[in-house]
C-alpha cells in the first residue's frame, strides 16, 4: 500500500484534532475492548461505513470486520505487514509507510506508526536529531531509557522527552506505543521549548501542540 509522510509536529496537531473531533461525537454504536479490565466507561465509539471502525476519546479503537474486537482502549491501532494501517471513523483507511511515522484520516481517523526496537532505532530510521519528539503511533520494543511512569486513572503511561507511551500487545510481545498526551497526566517538569499560551481567561503552557496547566505537583495535560 502506498504510504503517507507526515511530520511529527503535524502529528501532534492531528492528534489534538482527533481528540477534539471524537469528543464531539455522541452516538455510541459499539464499544470494543469490553473485556479489558478498567476500560473507561465513557469511551465513545463510532462504527464506520464498512462496519470496521471505531474511535475512542483517548486515541482510537478498531473493530475487525469479522467481529473480533481486539483492540482496546487508548491509542489502539492495527499493525500491518510492512507498516501499519488502521480504519478511520468513516471507513477510511490510513496507512503508514515503512520507516515513517504516521498518517491520519480526514474525519478524525487514527494515528498509526511502525515498529522499531527502540527510540534510537526510530531516530536513525527517521533521520532526525536526538531528542526529537517521536511520532504518535510509533511502537518500540523497548521503552525509552529513564522513562517515568505516569498514572491517569486506571491507566499507566511512560513519559520520556515530551512523549507518552502506552503498552500494547503486538506480535505476541509487549510493545510501547506513542500516544497523544493523555488528559490529566501530570509531569514534574515541562519538556524543552514550551511557551505560555492564553486560551480564554487561562494561561497554559504550550509544548508543541500539547497544553499543560500548572498544578501543585507539576504540570497537567489539558485536552480541549
Amino acid at each position: 500500500m502506498r504510504g503517507i509522510h507526515v511530520r511529527p509536529e503535524t502529528l501532534s496537531r492531528v492528534a489534538l484534532l482527533l481528540v477534539i473531533a471524537v469528543a464531539s461525537v455522541s452516538t455510541v454504536v459499539q464499544v470494543t475492548g469490553q473485556t479489558v479490565r478498567g476500560a473507561r466507561a465513557r469511551g465513545t465509539v463510532v462504527q464506520g461505513e464498512h462496519g470496521t471502525a471505531a474511535v475512542g476519546p483517548r486515541g482510537a479503537a478498531v473493530k475487525g470486520d469479522e467481529g473480533y474486537a481486539a483492540v482496546g482502549r487508548r491509542g489502539a491501532v492495527v499493525h500491518g505487514d510492512d507498516g501499519t494501517a488502521a480504519v478511520g471513523r468513516r471507513g477510511a483507511v490510513v496507512v503508514g509507510e515503512e520507516g515513517h511515522g504516521a498518517a491520519v484520516g480526514r474525519y478524525g481517523g487514527v494515528v498509526v506508526g511502525n515498529h522499531y526496537e527502540d527510540y534510537e532505532g526510530w531516530r536513525v530510521a527517521a533521520g532526525v536529531a536526538a531528542g526529537t519528539a517521536i511520532a504518535v503511533g510509533t511502537m518500540l520494543s523497548r521503552p525509552p531509557a529513564g522513562a517515568a511512569t505516569v498514572v491517569v486513572g486506571p491507566t499507566s503511561y511512560l513519559y520520556s522527552g515530551g512523549s507518552y507511551y502506552t503498552r500494547v500487545v503486538t506480535g505476541g510481545a509487549v510493545a510501547y506505543q506513542v500516544v497523544a498526551p493523555p488528559a490529566g497526566a501530570i509531569i514534574a517538569t515541562l519538556p524543552a521549548g514550551c511557551a505560555a499560551a492564553r486560551v480564554g481567561a487561562v494561561t497554559y503552557q504550550r509544548c508543541g501542540n500539547s497544553y499543560y496547566e500548572r498544578v501543585a505537583t507539576g504540570y497537567r495535560v489539558v485536552v480541549f
Binding site: 503517507i4 483492540v71 491520519v104
Partner: protein, 267 residues
C-alpha cells in the same frame, strides 16, 4: 530368443533409467506423507495432550539485524476448545483459551490482553496467527488434523534422510511451500511424535527451531486450568491486529493531506 531377451533387457534398463528419478521423488513424498500421517493420526487421537518445547526464534528486525528469542513452553490442549500455555526464558507469558477468548498474560510487564476467538481450537490457532501475528510454531500440531494443516496442494518435499535427535534415530521430512519451508523429525521407533521442528517463514523473515520433549497424550486436565487467572495488579492493554486482517477488501487509503486536518486553535 536370447536376442529378444537382450533387447527386452535394454528396453527395461532404459525405462528404469528414465523413470527412476521420478520414482525416487515420489517415493520420498509417499514415505514422508506416510510418516506424517502416522504422526497426525496419533496426535489427533488424543482428546487431550501436553508437551514441553524449547523454541528458538530468529527474526530479522527493521534495522536488518537478527534478533533471537528463546523460550521454553509448556502447552496443554483439550479438544475441541481449550488450551493453556506458559513460557519462560526470554518471554515470561501465559495464555488461556476457554472456547470464547484467548487471554494473554505478560508476567514481566504485568499486563494482559484479551482476544475474542472462535469456538474451536483449530480456528483459534489459525486466527491468532493470521489476524494477530502471534507466533505459535507448534500450532498446526495441536489442531485436530495436523497433516491437513501442514500439507497443501502447493507443498512439495518428503522424506530426506535420518538424523539423531535427543539420542533417537529420527526421519527427517523436508517440506517446501511458497510462503514457508519446514522440516520435521519423527522418531523411527516408539511413538511417532515429533522430536524436532524447523520452520522458515519466508514472507516474514522469521525462523523457528522447536525441540519437543515430554509428550503426554493423556494428561490430567480440568476446566479450571483453562480459565484465565489475572492478578489484580495487572493492567489490560490493547492487542494489535494485522492491517491485512481488518481492511475491507475494497478499502482505499485515505490520502487526505494532513494539512487539511490541522486542528483549530482552542478558543
Amino acid at each position: 530368443m536370447p536376442s529378444r531377451n537382450a533387447s527386452g533387457f535394454a528396453v527395461m534398463l532404459t525405462i528404469t533409467m528414465i523413470v527412476t528419478p521420478a520414482c525416487g521423488t515420489r517415493d520420498k513424498r509417499a514415505r514422508g506423507e506416510d510418516l506424517l500421517k502416522q504422526t497426525s493420526a496419533r496426535i489427533a487421537s488424543a482428546q487431550a495432550l501436553s508437551v514441553t518445547t524449547d523454541e528458538t526464534n530468529d527474526r530479522v528486525a527493521r534495522d536488518g539485524k537478527t534478533r533471537q528469542v528463546r523460550v521454553q513452553r509448556l502447552v496443554t490442549v483439550r479438544r475441541p476448545d481449550r488450551m493453556w500455555f506458559k513460557t519462560s526464558g526470554d518471554r515470561n507469558t501465559e495464555g488461556f483459551y476457554d472456547g470464547s477468548r484467548l487471554t494473554l498474560l505478560f508476567h514481566g510487564e504485568k499486563v494482559f490482553g484479551v482476544i475474542p476467538t472462535p469456538a474451536r481450537l483449530d480456528d483459534t490457532i489459525q486466527m491468532v496467527s493470521e489476524r494477530y501475528d502471534i507466533p505459535l510454531p507448534i500450532g498446526d500440531l495441536l489442531t485436530s488434523d495436523p497433516q491437513k494443516s501442514y500439507l497443501s496442494s502447493q507443498t512439495t518435499g518428503g522424506w530426506e534422510g535420518e538424523d539423531t535427535i535427543d539420542g533417537k534415530k529420527s526421519a527427517r521430512l523436508e517440506w517446501h511451500h511458497p510462503n514457508v519451508d519446514w522440516t520435521i523429525w519423527i522418531p523411527e521407533s516408539g511413538e511417532p511424535l515429533p522430536a524436532k521442528l524447523w520452520v522458515n517463514y519466508k514472507s516474514r523473515d522469521r525462523k523457528t527451531t522447536v525441540l519437543f520433549k515430554d509428550w503426554n497424550l493423556s494428561p490430567r486436565v480440568s476446566d479450571a486450568m483453562f480459565q484465565a487467572r489475572i492478578p489484580d495488579d495487572y493492567e489490560g492493554v490493547a492487542v494489535i491486529q494485522r492491517a491485512s486482517a481488518v481492511l475491507p477488501p475494497d478499502a482505499k487509503p485515505d490520502a487526505t493531506p494532513a494539512s487539511e486536518v490541522a486542528p483549530a486553535p482552542p478558543k
